[in-house]
């Protein structure tokens, strides 16, 4: 370093630069919270909330902390049905039913076959205050998940299909050994079962493509479904769409989102009144 450079560094502006660099370096070298730490924080906050469950005013903020930590893990790319259920329960106990439903859909988008997730979603949906009668009562309730992919995981399907194929090949081999046609019949049966399984998966995949081609949104606050993208438009349906209702996004315009409710009715909601989720 030359004398001139040393002088320039020692000026007040030079000190500021050095201080800034120190701050930046210290910030960048600060150890980021590891996933295990975040998980521990989430579990600790959840346990604290459980301990305070006799006082909802104190318990709910701790469940919110737990939910935020679980959200962090999910957003970092960790995916498991257990994590999705933990997220959903933390949000629900924090008093945020829409985020609970969104978390369950996030989990089901990854593990559609998970029975606990399906049960949890149905339970959360039952807590949504849909009107008991009127147009909205018939239109807004989401349909339960169906299809072979809701009952069998890809791993199960892989194991089953692989086993059937192995049995079929073994049957052919045994037929080659014994020339007993019963073995060939057994192999054919295994192949037929495998083909039926594959057909069901194909049909399920096509159905999912059809059903889930539009992004899923969860209504985060009680809101009126309007005919246009402004509060001045009249309601599309007289009743208020309750928070936790599920809708499909068609388009967005000017801070409003055009949605379709499960019954097929189309209307507009403010963007601030919906949250996106998987599925």
């Amino acid at each position: 370093m030359t004398t001139g450079e040393a002088v320039s560094v020692c000026t007040p502006s030079g000190y500021r630069i050095i201080a800034t660099l120190i701050v930046l370096l210290s910030a960048s070298s600060a150890p980021a919270s590891s996933p295990a730490d975040t998980l521990a924080q989430a579990e600790s906050a959840f346990a604290e909330g459980v301990a305070l469950r006799h006082d909802s005013a104190r318990a709910r903020p701790t469940f919110t902390r737990a939910a935020n930590a679980y959200d962090t893990l999910w957003n970092e790319g960790f995916r498991s049905p257990e994590l999705a259920i933990n997220r959903a329960r933390a949000h629900r106990l924090a008093g945020n039913l829409p985020k609970c439903i969104a978390a369950l859909h996030d989990g089901l988008a990854f593990a559609r076959f998970s029975r606990p997730l399906q049960v949890e979603l149905e339970d959360a949906r039952a807590a949504v205050l849909y009107p008991l009668d009127g147009e909205l009562a018939t239109q807004a309730r989401p349909k339960p998940l169906r299809g072979i992919s809701t009952r069998m995981s890809p791993t199960d399907a892989w194991l089953l299909a692989g086993s059937l194929w192995l049995l079929a090949c073994a049957g052919v081999a045994r037929f080659a050994m014994t020339r007993n046609p019963l073995w060939l019949a057994g192999a054919a049966m295994c192949l037929v079962v495998g083909l039926i399984l594959g057909g069901l998966w194909l049909q399920d995949a096509q159905q999912r493509i059809h059903d889930e081609s539009l992004p899923l949104l969860v209504v985060s606050d009680d809101v009126i479904l309007r005919r246009g993208n402004a509060a001045a438009y009249p309601p599309r349906i007289d009743a208020i769409l309750p928070k936790g209702a599920e809708v499909r996004e068609l388009t967005r315009r000017g801070g409003w989102v055009q949605v379709q409710i499960p019954g097929g009715a189309i209307g507009w909601l403010p963007e601030s009144a919906v949250i996106s989720c998987g599925g």
Binding site: A57, N86, T155, A173
Partner: protein, 333 residues
């Protein structure tokens, strides 16, 4: 001195006239229209008006209301006094949420006006009900001089205490919601078969079958040969019959018939060839090696011996011999 002696008389007369022409009751004098304060003037009229805060309780819990009363005494026009809007006064509005209380309408004869308010401290740092400036009209004041004197309700110290603890409301959610999976397994992503896993599964079946087949052939060569034999329908039927011969009443005859049937199907054996020697000759004519033909003849002889001679050979050995010759013939054919 002359002027001093004569002028006081007319001046006195003038003063007298003025005094007589003026209203005798100073309270009925018209207020001056100048110098009216733009702020803190609430249309009160009187002489020596006194304003003060009445605060029955000087301690209030956070979130609760403090009832205060503004008392204005010596008022001449109680029905005309305007209630001060404390919400428009920053000193009050910054410290309190102000709620007006309904006041009983004053009577014209009242000498005192009372305005009641509810003040809810915005936080625990609030420590006083602020002072209130209060201008009023003094009808007795000479015009232009102190027509609007100022009264003042002095500040009153108060104490804002902690809010009472709210009653705990238990959470009513289902018990199962209070249980979550814990431990590092929560972060474990379950196995999802990728494309290569499917390819591996597809290749595994045929590979395993081929390996099994060749291993079987190596471990059981006879069985393999027999399996090869069974590819010929005639040989398969013959060997099936030979294997089931032991369950027939006359096994040697069944074996001989099975072998003869096989030979007639696979070779151009004349109908006249029925004895072992004739069969051997016919087989040699059909280009079967002489040695094999002789073995076949031996099988037929053994069958005849077993049928007609005293028992000397078991049906089992005949059957195995018969299967062996059929196997050799299949290899030749």
């Amino acid at each position: 001195m002359t002027l001093g002696r004569f002028y006081p008389l007319p001046l006195l007369a003038l003063c007298l006239v003025c005094t007589l022409s003026a209203p005798h009751d100073p309270l009925l004098a018209q207020p001056a229209v100048f110098d009216e304060p733009s702020e803190h003037y609430y249309k009160a009229k009187g002489i020596g008006i006194v304003v003060k805060w009445e605060v029955p309780r000087t301690t209030v819990q956070e979130g609760r209301d403090l009832t205060v009363t503004l008392v204005i005494t010596r008022v001449m026009n109680p029905t005309e006094v305007v209630k001060p809007d404390l919400r428009k006064l920053p000193a009050f509005n910054d410290a309190f949420i102000v709620t007006d209380e309904a006041d009983p309408p004053p009577k014209p004869t009242d000498k005192e006006v009372r305005f009641k308010y509810k003040l809810r401290p915005r936080n625990r740092s609030v420590d006083q009900v602020p002072a209130l400036e209060f201008y009023y009209f003094n009808p007795a004041a000479p015009p232009g001089k102190k027509a609007f004197p100022q009264a003042r309700a002095d500040a009153v110290s108060i104490t804002v205490t902690e809010p009472p603890p709210k009653p705990a409301i238990p959470m009513t959610e289902e018990d199962r919601l209070f249980h979550v999976a814990t431990g590092p397994e929560v972060l474990h992503t379950p196995f999802v078969p990728c494309r290569w896993a499917w390819v591996a599964a597809a290749l595994l079946g045929p590979l395993a079958a081929v390996v099994w087949f060749f291993a079987w052939r190596r471990i059981y060569p006879d069985a393999a040969r027999l399996a090869h034999l069974r590819r010929s329908r005639a040989a398969r039927r013959a060997t099936d019959a030979i294997q089931k011969a032991s369950r027939t009443p006359d096994p040697p005859a069944t074996i001989a018939a099975a072998v003869l049937g096989y030979l007639r199907t696979r070779f151009p054996l004349p109908e006249s060839a029925v004895t072992p020697s004739e069969i051997a000759v016919a087989l040699v004519d059909a280009l079967v090696p002489e040695e094999v033909a002789e073995q076949i003849a031996d099988v037929f002889r053994a069958c005849d011996r077993a049928r007609f001679a005293p028992p000397s050979d078991s049906g089992l050995s005949i059957a195995s011999d018969a299967e062996a010759v059929i196997s050799r013939l299949e290899a030749i054919a």
